[in-house]
């Protein structure tokens, strides 16, 4: 009677994984992103709300209260100039986050433009890529150190120095994506329909570079925060008066053997912030690149 045979049940492997809907569903599906984003939000809150979290002026010198151990009054103790380390660490979140985000944004935008030009115009490609090869051969931290040695210490100059060191990697990535996209049939189709170059790049190429670029930008944000702390730590970063985590650790260096907590408090905050951003990067990569998803 019934001429249709029932379709055999799907093997377990092919059963779709339960996908939850909405923002909360997305976060539940991707616990790495949820954890990273949560941690980052906490740090953002600390950075924005620093003046109202029981802090005092982080640059105020108080010679009579030098080198105090952590106590109810000074939660993280005071440093060699009597400055409150708790306040300095909380305000330090601002410097790290500003530098991390600015470098990620600037390096992505500039790297994207260079990558698009290089991937689209064959003639410029050879020259641009040789220059990028050269730039990439200079270890990023050393490049930043050399730039900082020539400019006055300031947050803007640190951002510029780290951005210059990061640009070649972004433009390389974008160029690679553009070159592989150019071979796609839909791009040929668009060209044969009379799509002009600016439109082709804007409508068909650019949107497809954004996914890998987002992942890369996240990692750049993380590495920029580490580079900033290294630069400040060795005295080539933001001016010593500004409370950045690298500067606080640089101040604690001489007292390390007797007062290790001066280094450990900012170190914990820095590591957690970088970890948060890295976890988000890993999560984005898994979501945006299905080929490398959880099982592989």
């Amino acid at each position: 009677m019934n001429s249709f045979a029932a379709a055999p049940a799907l093997p377990d492997l092919l059963k779709p994984r339960r996908q939850r809907k909405g923002l909360w569903g997305f976060l539940l599906n991707n616990p790495t992103i949820a954890f990273g984003a949560g941690l980052l939000l906490v740090m953002l809150f600390i950075a924005i709300a620093a003046p109202w979290l029981g802090t005092v002026d982080p640059t105020e010198l108080a010679p009579r209260k030098r080198n105090l151990e952590p106590s109810a009054m000074y939660w993280f103790g005071t440093d060699a100039f009597g400055r409150d380390i708790y306040s300095r660490v909380l305000y330090g979140a601002r410097v790290s986050l500003i530098i991390g985000f600015s470098v990620a944004l600037l390096a992505s935008v500039i790297g994207l433009s260079i990558g698009l030009v290089s991937g689209t115009f064959r003639r410029s490609d050879a020259i641009i890529m040789r220059i990028m090869d050269g730039l990439m051969s200079i270890p990023p931290i050393l490049l930043a150190i050399a730039l900082m040695a020539l400019t006055r210490a300031s947050i803007e100059n640190v951002v510029i120095a780290i951005t210059i060191a990061e640009i070649p990697r972004v433009s390389r990535l974008v160029r690679g994506v553009v070159l592989s996209l150019r071979e796609q049939a839909y791009v040929d189709a668009a060209i044969s329909c009379g799509c002009r170059m600016p439109m082709l790049i804007w409508r068909h190429i650019l949107p497809n570079t954004l996914a890998p670029l987002t992942v890369q930008a996240t990692y750049i944000c993380a590495s920029a925060m580490i580079t900033e702390s290294i630069l400040s730590f060795i005295g080539a970063g933001v001016p010593p008066i500004i409370p950045s985590w690298g500067n606080i650790m640089a101040d604690g260096r001489t007292l390390f053997q007797i007062k290790p907590y001066i280094i450990f408090f900012p170190a914990v905050f820095l590591s957690l912030t970088v970890l948060a951003v890295n976890l988000m990067g890993d999560g984005f990569r898994d979501v945006l690149d299905p080929r490398k998803s959880k099982t592989s």
Partner: protein, 313 residues
Amino acid sequence: MFSYIFRRVLATIPVMVIVALFVFSLLYIAPGDPAAVIAGDQASPEDVAKIRANLGLDRPFLVRFSEWFFNLLQGDLGTSMFTGIPVSELIGQRIEPTLSLMVLTLIFAVTVAVPIGVLAAWKAGTWIDRCIMAISVIGFSVPVFVVGYLMSFFLSLELDWFPVQGYVSFKKGFGPWFEHLVLPSIALGFVYIALIARITRATMLEVLSQDYIRTAKAKGMGQLGILFLHALKNAAVPVVTVIGIGIALLIGGAVVTESVFAIPGLGRLTIDSIVRRDYPMIQGLVVVFSFVYVLVNLCVDVIYTIVDPRIRY
């Protein structure tokens, strides 16, 4: 093969020229007046003029660059502004500790990272894999000097297992030399291990899903044999590439590690030069480090063509 190696060697020449050109032109690209920055805030206009003449900023760019570049070709990196000693001589004096630190870190990192990367790929999806990957994310997130200080605090100051700081030359015996470099190498190797372990895992996963691995399993080959004889060999190229590229991380990290552990190497020299605003010295160090980096990666590429017969260009 030889023609490929020859072409590869030739191709590094323009890269090195661009590195030299770029490092040199930083003096001109940098915003503001580098001579005034180097002279400091208390300097008189005469001092600034003197420094400007010393750096050659008062003469045309191309003249200065060609002069500097031809000196570079003869191994002359200029003269340190602070000590008046040739830069190449100062670098020569300090190269041993840095080289020791980097070679030891390299050996240590590769021997740890490759097996744990293979293990993570073999046990993919299990808690072992998750733990290894979690440790690798942490490795990327904790800065070198934090790892260094943590270890130096707990293992040297509290437990007294290792010397806290300092360096003993190789010439004074292997024991003390090694003892002083254990902690710095582990600290410096941490992020490098994370990087290599990750790429090893990713490539191994790709290789392990291939047919010949199933064939090896079917003919009854042992797990270790499959992993290390069949799979790892074919996963080697990306892994070795990352080991080469990661040298940049080691170079950057060495600057900081030497500062944490008071090792008198090139990194220490870099930091001292920043404090003294000794730009010719920094310039020389950047050029030397970059050339070393380019040469290491050249060696990596040449090693492939010898090791892997599939690569023929």
